[in-house]
Amino acid sequence: MEIIQIVGLGLITTILILVVREQKPMFAFLLAAFTGLFIFLYMIGKIETVITVLEQLADRSGIPSIYLKTILKIIGIAYIAEFGAQIVRDAGQESVASKIEFAGKVLILVMAVPIIGVIVETVIGLLPAGS
């Protein structure tokens, strides 16, 4: 029943923010940010279970561990970038948020570089020699 706790926390925070915003917009933002951080960390702990399942899956089917590492890194990058971007967006800095997302996308794409390298080498190796 953690979802009830989380939703309750969210509702209370929302009401508090609505009350406080008139007087101190700064505190309203801080409240939102810290609530978001709390929920994020709380849920990150839960993700561990999913990751364990993924690892088992990879183990049993003999996928090279490098794939799993890459995938987990991608997930982590996506989550962290998303979270940071949302907090910044809450503060009203849409442009900074989009830059954070941009950085996340670039990092995810960079993850693909070794894989692309291997594939390209294979494809070139498939072609007859001399090309």
């Binding site: 089917s61 003999g62 490098i66 995938i71 996506a78 998303e82 995810i108 693909a112 080498e121 294979t122």
Partner: protein
Amino acid sequence: MLAWLAAWLKQIIAVVLLAGLIDLLLPNQTMQRYVRLIAGLIILLTLLSPIIRLLQGDYDTQLNASFDNWLKASPPKEYRMPTLEDIQRDAEALKRKQELAAAALTEKQLASAMKEALERGTGLKVSSVSVRLAGTSKTDAASVQTVEVTLDSMGGAPDESPGAASGGEGEAGTASGGEGDEGKASGLEGGADAGEIQPVESVDSVSVFVQVDTNRVNGSDSGQPVSEGYAPVEGRAAEAVRRVLSEGWSVPPGVVSVRMASSDGAGAGAAPD
């Protein structure tokens, strides 16, 4: 064959499942296209794995190596702000380098001026003059520590046998010390115009030693110049050389050593002491 096929299929299924899971795990739509691309690449790699293995052996190690390279290459790229100490150290090093360069230039000019004056004043053929200065910092007074004059063996004065007077040179070498400071002051006005640059010692276009310790004024200095292939020169020629140097640059005669290239190898036997 069947077992291998089963393993391959299992791998493909697992990767596809994995890709589906991360698609679910993803937080929002913005990242989805990018992650899907990479998941697709991984699936493609898995599908291709038999071909890859056929073509280039163990691509796993290759993939691992490229990942490791990529992961290892990133940390060194992070650059940090230089601290004040770093900057000061750099400045110190630069200053030292500059001083050394200035010293080299000064000593070169000094040596060439000396050579010219010697050739004019004594009529001897001087093949090279090397000046070694003591004192390297700007606040230090630079003094002429040793002057080494190499005469051309053809032009050298033949009135003395090379080894004959080598003992005298050894005593003469003890004289430098305090006079060296005056020698530098007046020597610089005669030689190079760079009065504020002290550490100068040049071996004519060969090499340059700047020596810091001013204590080395005892007899050991005079022993140095006599090296392989050179014979010390004393007598009239050496006196003439010393006179010119002490008149032009106030170099104390004790620090001047005169030698000539000995073609017959007599220099080895003629070493003083």
